[in-house]
């Protein structure tokens, strides 16, 4: 009989303990946290979460980067927006209840499980946009969009991440304020500086929005379809689907 049998019923065996500890200690990477924060449009107004990062590729420097990184605030975007045409799609974070918002508030897990897909706004993401997309008049192709890699560069430094977030946030703010030219400029800068950046998918979605805002609906739809083919499980599927469908 194995020594395992000598273990008291309520006491985990060494292997059980090892497995549970490994699961308890696993945590999302700093980069993941930053990605979600960026997607939500959260700036470092409050202290960043106290992550227990054990295996993050970026390390604590990355966490520090959150502080000064996320770029222009949504409030600033709103101020601009007061003087500009309303963008077709607004950042999620600031979304007020809109007509599409379900009336019933899901306050339980069961209700939440039934909640409709988010009318995802855009805040998010990126995938490196084609470097050929010049500011103001991007010439994107589905192929260009697809070239963007979601996978973050493992060796991103804290400074790089800060810069990436700054550019993405600038693009997002520009989209939110109805300024596709500025958005395109920021995205072009992002794709040229960080062709394999950590926010490639986010950049790609913003690029699609930008093209759509510029009136190139057919092209935006084409890019959106390409995006959906390549990222069927992206958190931004709902938003991209709206663009793909709306332009048809």
């Amino acid at each position: 009989m194995s020594d395992l049998k000598l273990v008291a019923p309520d006491q985990p065996t060494p292997l059980e303990q090892l497995l549970m500890d490994s699961a308890r200690n696993e945590s999302p990477s700093v980069e993941q946290r930053m990605r979600v924060r960026a997607a939500l449009g959260l700036t470092a107004l409050t202290a960043p979460p106290p992550p227990v990062v054990r295996t993050g590729r970026i390390g604590t420097l990355g966490k520090v980067a959150i502080g000064g990184a996320v770029g222009a605030s949504v409030i600033a975007a709103l101020v601009f927006a007061l003087h500009k045409p309303a963008p077709r799609i607004l950042p999620v974070v600031l979304s007020a209840p809109v007509a599409t918002t379900p009336a019933a508030a899901p306050t339980t897990p069961a209700e939440a499980a039934q909640a409709s897909e988010p009318v995802i706004s855009p805040l998010p993401p990126v995938e490196a946009a084609p470097a050929s997309a010049a500011a103001g008049t991007p010439k994107l192709t589905p192929k260009g969009v697809s070239s963007v890699s979601k996978s973050p560069a493992p060796a991103d430094s804290a400074d790089d991440l800060s810069e990436q977030l700054r550019l993405i946030d600038a693009a997002r703010s520009a989209v939110a304020s109805g300024n596709p030219s500025a958005a395109s400029q920021a995205l072009s800068s992002y794709s040229s500086k960080f062709p394999h950046g950590s926010f490639g998918q986010e950049a790609q979605v913003l690029r699609i929005e930008t093209v759509d805002m510029q009136g190139n609906h057919a092209q935006a739809a084409e890019l959106a379809k390409s995006f959906l083919e390549r990222h069927p499980n992206s958190p931004h599927v709902s938003l991209v689907q709206r663009i793909a469908g709306g332009a048809q």
Partner: protein, 192 residues
């Protein structure tokens, strides 16, 4: 039209409300993001898919922030995470417990090899995937997230007695699965 911009124009107080919403979202992120990420991971998603799923969950929360009752944030995120994980796992690679448990064919032939964090996490994922979802959920919340039975019961919306019963069965299933692995690693040997 109900755009945020028009609301702001028509209501000078709107920016304050927006800022409050933003602060609330920030709190939700700080307090629950890692929990949601671990939850979807333990529900069977790969790290990459867990990243996407966690982000999706918070985008849903941001979109429906005004619908979420104060104090029900974790409950909302939990329910949404279950749905998102279920949806995402359909297209994710599925682990097959029986195949993966046969470590005799792998290079990791000794228990100490499991000290490698990734292998241990993988094995844990396989074992959890072999559990029924209702048992797995309670096991995750109680054993891995350290929640009390009343907390688990409230979150899953089941009686405390049911939660306790599920936890007992989940522990049994977990121990049986681990024992099966141990027997295949080195029958009769001591664990490190």
């Amino acid at each position: 039209m109900g755009s945020i911009l028009q609301l702001v124009v028509n209501n000078p107080v709107e920016p304050i409300r927006v800022e409050a919403s933003k602060a609330r979202l920030e709190r939700m992120f700080n307090e629950h993001h890692d929990f949601i990420w671990r939850l979807v991971r333990r529900l069977g998603l790969s790290p990459g898919s867990a990243d996407d799923a966690a982000q999706h969950v918070f985008l849903v929360a941001a979109e429906r922030l005004d619908d979420i009752k104060l104090g029900s944030e974790r409950s909302f995120l939990f329910g949404t995470a279950l749905r998102v994980a279920r949806s995402q796992s359909r297209s994710d690679r599925r682990w097959v417990l029986e195949e993966d448990m046969d470590f005799r064919r792998s290079q990791a032939g000794r228990p100490e090899d499991l000290a490698d964090q990734h292998r241990a996490i993988d094995l844990m994922g396989k074992i959890l995937n072999g559990m029924a979802l209702d048992l797995r959920t309670v096991f995750i919340l109680s054993e891995l997230e350290g929640m009390t039975m009343p907390e688990v019961a409230a979150l899953v919306e089941i009686p405390v007695g049911t939660a306790a019963s599920r936890l007992r069965r989940a522990r049994e299933a977990f121990r049986a699965a681990v024992a099966a692995v141990e027997s295949k690693l080195q029958p009769g040997s001591k664990l490190p």
